[in-house]
Amino acid sequence: MEISNYETAESKTSFSAGKLQRRHFLKFTGAVVLTTGVLGCRKSERPSGKPQINDGSTIDFKDDTGIFNYIYILEQLEAAFYIKVSAAYPSAFTATQTSFFNDISLHEIAHREFLKDFLVEAGIGNLDFDFSSIDFTNATAVLTAAKTFEDLGVAAYNGVLARAQQSFTLIILSQIASVEARHAAWVRGQVITNDFADLNALSTLGAVDANGLDVALTPDKVLAQVSKYIKTPLKVINL
């Protein structure tokens, strides 16, 4: 027997750790103006009483907002890539590949839009991308690009998780990270059979096969690898 748990409209408004934590997070980032109390206990470098409003292109790593903006770049990149793929799948794609790519595309859109709604004024704007180096009609080229983006995505999440100042941030990042790892495992297997977790090959992205550890890269290394696809100038500070 399977128990059902559809989240009803009522249950969404009931107590949930995630919602409470989010409120703390917003206070901390300054998206909500707070003059006394909670913030007073924290060493915030931000001028007090001033809401954090992003100029549209700044990734400031001084707190968790920077981490969220950083992964927002990568989710925008992934979503833009998969949307372009799904507009006209390579003719050599199998039915399964088309179906699973469609799934992945929707996941990346959900991640991107979640971050947009989550960050609101503290978020960077919509970025422009340049995928001219990828031949979208060629199945191998598309699969190889997808593999690169997914492994880099996992490396990015694993590389910033430990920097999270709030448990809430840690949990949300890990919730997305494992989905990206699922993508990476499946896509890798489409390029090379059963190549789902070749940690030796992935050592260039920080994996350690001897310890069974997956990829992990610092933001500067990830951004260096994806910068050729991003047309919008970005300011990265306090890295």
Binding site: M1, E2, I3, S4, N5, Y6, E7, S11, K12, S16, A17, G18, K19, R22, T96, D103, L106, H107, I109, A110, E113, F114, D117, F118, V154, Y157, N158, G159, L161, A162, R163, S167, L170, I171, I172, S174, Q175, I176, A177, S178, V179, E180, A181, R182, H183, A185, W186, G189, N194, F196, A197, L199, V208, D209, N211, G212, L213, D214, V215, A216
Partner: protein
């Protein structure tokens, strides 16, 4: 100041000084590395720190150690399934799949080794090794050692469970950044295992599971009908707790469509983001108490059950 002389002097009083220091070789090497950079004035402080570690004067971080020990128990659960299949029932796994299962087993063994080393280094006591006999792998069927489909589905459920459990332990590791980072890296390897096993099950097109995905999804029938109220895509009712919520407060079953108060279904006008896509796009955690309850109920026998 001659540090080695001091250690020798202590040796005259405490014959076990080298043994005390030795199991924490890392503490010593850390100390010697630090020593290169420290001024003589700061040296006694660092030295005190090393001896505190050696003599267990510092408080062991039980939060971190407990989290790692829970992870260790689950690694034994995973490892023994694969190890038994590869060694005790070599005909169970088709030749083409042997390298895959071998790779996964190697990762689990590496995780076990790393967790034991880390727990020991932190001054904790690692969970005692758990043999194959400690575990019950027959929740899906008693034919787990003879039927390849059952083996894969059992492995899938255990990996899915492991990913959720690791996620739930990450907040307990925040006091130690390097341990937290490593746990995150193990966590995503487990997610890769889950995806690969799900892909292998998909490839077999098993009845009731022909629409299984590499990512946790709402239950879909073979006709493609998705049920957004059903979070258990394993199609095994007995495994439903693996995919269900922690409790009535945390509505974090695997069909969850709202994250941080933001509804993902149809988000910002993207109507293609269905409830199923929304649920797939975020994996859910399980907290310690729930993990232990599920582990004991489904996978671990007495007297090895988790307390």
């Amino acid at each position: 100041m001659d540090i080695l002389n001091i250690i020798d002097e202590i040796g005259k009083i405490d014959g076990e000084i080298y043994e005390r220091l030795d199991p924490r070789r890392k503490a010593m090497s850390n100390f010697f590395n630090i020593g290169k950079k420290l001024s003589m004035a700061a040296l006694p402080v660092a030295l005190t720190g090393m001896f505190q570690k050696a003599y267990g004067q510092t408080t062991v971080n039980t939060t971190v150690v407990s989290a790692l020990n829970l992870a260790l128990a689950l690694e034994y659960l995973e490892f023994n399934l694969y190890d038994n299949a590869l060694t005790a029932t070599p005909t169970l796994i088709p030749a083409a799949a042997v390298p895959i299962i071998t790779t996964i087993r190697a990762h689990e063994q590496a995780h076990i080794n790393l967790l034991i080393a880390t727990i020991t280094q932190l001054g904790g006591v690692p969970q005692a090794p758990m043999p194959y006999a400690a575990f019950n792998y027959t929740t899906i069927s008693t034919n787990v050692t003879t039927n390849y489909d059952t083996f894969l589905r059992t492995a899938m459920s255990i990996e899915d469970f492991g990913v959720r459990a690791y996620k739930g332990q990450l907040p307990s590791l925040v006091s130690n950044q390097s341990v937290l980072a490593a746990a995150a890296q193990i966590h995503s390897v487990e997610a890769r295992h889950s995806a690969q096993l799900r892909k292998m099950i998909y490839d077999l097109q098993i009845t009731n599971l022909i629409n299984l995905r590499p990512w946790l999804s709402d239950r879909a029938t073979d006709a493609g009908v998705v049920d957004p109220t059903n979070y258990n895509d394993s199609a095994i009712g007995a495994l439903s707790t693996v995919y269900y919520q922690d409790n009535a407060t945390l509505l974090n079953a695997e069909n969850k469509v709202t994250q941080a108060g933001i509804l993902l279904t149809g988000i910002n006008g993207f109507i293609d983001v269905t409830a199923n896509a929304a649920a797939q796009s975020f994996d859910e955690y399980l907290e310690t108490a729930t993990v232990k309850t599920i582990a004991n109920a489904l996978y671990i026998k007495q007297p090895y059950q988790l307390t």
